[in-house]
Symmetry: C2
Subunit: 198 residues, 2 copies
Amino acid sequence: MSNQAARRTRSLSADKRAAILAGAKRVFLRDGFAAGSVDAVAAEAGVGKQTVYRHFGSKDALVEALVVGMCEAIDWSAPPDASSDPRATLRRELNAFVLGLSTPGSVQLYRAIIGEAGRQPEFARLFFEAGPKVIRSRVASVLCGELPDSEASEAAAILVNLALGDAYLELVLGITPPDPKRFERQIDAALELVLPSR
Amino acid sequence: MSNQAARRTRSLSADKRAAILAGAKRVFLRDGFAAGSVDAVAAEAGVGKQTVYRHFGSKDALVEALVVGMCEAIDWSAPPDASSDPRATLRRELNAFVLGLSTPGSVQLYRAIIGEAGRQPEFARLFFEAGPKVIRSRVASVLCGELPDSEASEAAAILVNLALGDAYLELVLGITPPDPKRFERQIDAALELVLPSR
DNA sequence: GCCGTTGACGAGACTGTATAGTCTCGCTAA
DNA sequence: TTAGCGAGACTATACAGTCTCGTCAACGGC
């Protein structure tokens, strides 16, 4: 709408907002929500401190906007495929999920959210609903064709767990660098365990 | 030794040190390593601020002493049992592990360590070596009797993963309260999957 | 098409508060 | 007498949030 375009020039700039959020992402995911400062965000975004407050009102609101935005942007699902082989579908689905979660940004978000889970349970819930829960139900819906409905949900949980497996804990702890091949191996082993091929 | 008793009164008091660490545990695991203040620790420990510095020198050193101490104190293993049934042994072992990790203190430590993993990788490593790694190898050594050695290590990783399962992620995220029965169900399902009973 | 108004913006000074770390003092027990 | 200790004053720094000022680009009246 031209309304929006006209509004934007007279109103707060969407570009600035995006720049601030990008700066906030770098600063807060690097230093933590508590230790990261608004001054650092403003500097990182190439923006005046006042502009940050004009757009977001407070540090807490800024952090919340960042977390909400990142959670909403989560989309780790694989594009739909034509294949009717559920094993192949699951493999692609789990792979997309695991790769999405292995991104430096995702790992940092995961760390920050878990670090704050005791003080900011809403963030944790938001993340959970947008990420793990969605994948679980996607996997379960694929499994419904293969297993009795009563087992599909549990099997989905097991698959998702094993897909992340040890590799993800070690990745989050910073003990091992990301290793797509290792994830693939974990996914194959998980599929073999839950849906034995022969 | 009387030496120690004599030393203690003339030297820094071990009681004070312990009180400070106990206060630090409450404060830092509640507020985070960055946001928790030395003043709060001193107050919580019923101790003068100066005493904290006499004992630990700096906030960083205090945090490190706390983390190191808590990691060294980790012992989630079940007491050895006489039973020769490996399934029963594994069930007890996994149960002890999961219960130890579900303790409020353990969950808070886990959160804090993951939250800092990007900035304090040594803490993460320390925790990993003292906790998950130990359990993995304990489980693997039990499995060696049941499976070919080549599979035992991977199966152990799978068992440990499934024992924690969804319940632990949800616990750490603060989404579900601790539920020992749910963990038991997860452990039974995991054992059934890895070592089918019939 | 020109011009004055308007409001977003950058820069940075400023306030109040919190915190790390130091210093001093008076108490107490060996 | 000595040294650990509690209490709390003190310094220096950092940060959240506010305020001001000068600039600039868009809008509206002419």
